[in-house]
Symmetry: C2
Subunit: 334 residues, 2 copies
């Protein structure tokens, strides 16, 4: 199931652009899917999109209002209720990745049902999922894996999809987290799937395809993050990747949320992912290292890129700073 | 939460002893917890327990009726309804690990509520569970891991618990699957937990304890079973094991349910489990290899035990055939 497009992005009255992470993600990666934004008067987020109302959004063709907010706590502010009710009563589907469910907004479910409107919760999977069968599948599947959580796996996958689309390749981004799902309009929130079905849900997300088709799959967590490694492994086995990209944030001093856990070495992380991935595809390979160098200056960025590319013989890049033709050429050569 | 003991075991009208797996498990491992069995006239299962009715079971002190059946499809036969309703109306809690829920039996929920009776579904976890924090915990924790699913992980754990109890050690079996949960009267059905909380649920199941206390944790699946390896890894990280036992069925020709997947070598399986377990406890070690030799004669059993114990320098045994004093001595020495 895909969300109906185009979207209008709702950012409420949030205090800064960080809280508008989802809206910025959609505006960055799917600009043609957005007719504009709806902001409440107090809003401090600054998206470069036309300012709309529910009525003008519908006039411009909007089919879904996406709550573009990822705030602390994941709550739905009471100040948003009026806009959400109005969207539903005007026939707009509503999509949200917040922790608090849309169905908890007073009357919203009733208004939605009356107007045949979908309330889409990006955090809630849609079972049933199959148990993974691990049968070999045709098609190319690239999975982004990480040394840690929040190392750039979603952005790297989206950037590779964009670079492949620019070369007219047959490609789909496959989302596995709520932000990616809202950007893409579909996907599986893998961390919310019942444990037994993790790999099966991913097999269903990226099924057998034409031999020249690329699925670019958003990874989650890290095999070295002790809170979430089981999810990362279930995803890795379900993906049956042909190609892996390692995502790494070079200034990170410890595993996210765990001050006593240091990051694995790049070498160890590559070896562990390759070993686990070979269980379902003996021919899988690493195609590159994607660095999140937002905290580095240009000189330090080039230094670490030179070091890592020499040490591992892999194309090393920052997907937000560098063009990726070398990587795409390498992927196509495999 | 523990089920109220003692139990009366209900085996309905099942066709053979294989379908009475849960009842046999309870009768084998918790004989003092069973006042007897209730069978319908057509029943072909043969438990060596007193034949009771609901009334006589209650007279003998029964507090919970456990559905001791693990049949194909996991259904509740209509022929059982009368007994289940009568149990609830007489104030017996009812516990089941079947796929079909007790709440689907007509009127059973109503009768249970009226009589303040618990309907316990061993397949359904009881959230909320925490996200794993991987903080070092005191106490000893032994986890059984496997080359494959159904390789004897539950029986090995129960046999080690029994051998430790015989030596007056402080020990708890920690169940992670529905049969183990019904045998033990509590536990977490880890394959049914939401992916993000797998390791956290296990941390909660076997918390920090006295330095001489042993938790013997039932493993699930295998790091080499592509359908379920993510569950096995989540369990492994949550367990923060001090000691591991590898469980193996030497006549198995392929991974359970996957004819195209051969079993990993013992060497590879030990290395992968050790490497992953060290993430949360660098001092973890393998303490032994538990073989399920039910399909081997005595000569072949001794041959493979000699071979493996020499090759890996680990105590190698069949927990159902051999006494385990050497293993317990080794565990206590660590």
């Amino acid at each position: 199931m895909y969300l109906k497009k185009p979207y209008v992005l709702f950012v409420g009255d949030i205090e800064d652009d960080l809280a508008a992470k989802v809206a910025h993600g959609i505006a960055d990666w799917r600009p043609n899917d957005c007719v504009g934004q709806i902001r409440l008067p107090e809003c401090k987020a600054t998206l470069e999109l036309p300012e709309l109302t529910i009525e003008s959004a519908i006039e411009k063709g909007a089919k879904t209002l996406v709550v573009g907010v990822a705030n602390r706590g994941g709550g739905i502010s009471q100040t948003w209720y009026e806009t959400l009710i109005m969207a539903a009563s005007h026939g707009l589907d509503i999509a949200s990745g917040l922790h608090q469910l849309l169905s908890t907004v007073p009357n919203l479910s009733i208004v939605a049902e009356k107007n045949d409107v979908l309330l889409y919760e990006a955090r809630i999977p849609n079972p049933p999922f199959p148990i993974a069968n691990a049968k070999p599948r045709s098609g190319r599947r690239l999975l982004t894996v990480g040394t840690d959580c929040s190392a750039g796996k979603m952005y790297t996958a989206l950037a590779i999809e964009k670079a492949m689309l620019a070369r007219d390749l047959s490609v789909d981004f496959r989302a596995t987290g709520q932000t990616g799902i809202l950007i893409n309009g579909n996907g599986v929130p893998i961390d919310a799937v019942v444990a037994d079905f993790m790999s099966g849900a991913i097999e269903e997300l990226c099924p057998a395809n034409d031999s020249k088709h690329w699925d670019i799959i958003e990874g989650q967590g890290s095999l070295f993050h002790p809170s979430f490694a089981g999810v990362s492994l279930g995803l890795l086995h379900g993906a049956q990747a042909t190609d892996l990209i390692l995502c790494h944030e070079p200034t990170r001093v410890h595993m996210r949320g765990l001050p006593d856990f240091s990051l694995p070495s790049i070498e160890k992380c590559i070896a562990a992912n390759l070993s686990a991935a070979k269980l379902v595809n003996p021919d899988v390979r690493f195609a590159g290292i994607a660095l999140n160098t937002v905290a580095l200056n240009n000189q330090d960025t080039m230094k670490i890129i030179n070091e890592l590319s020499q040490e591992f013989g892999l194309i090393t890049f920052d997907p937000l700073k560098h063009e990726m033709n070398d990587l795409i050429d390498f992927l196509l050569s495999g």
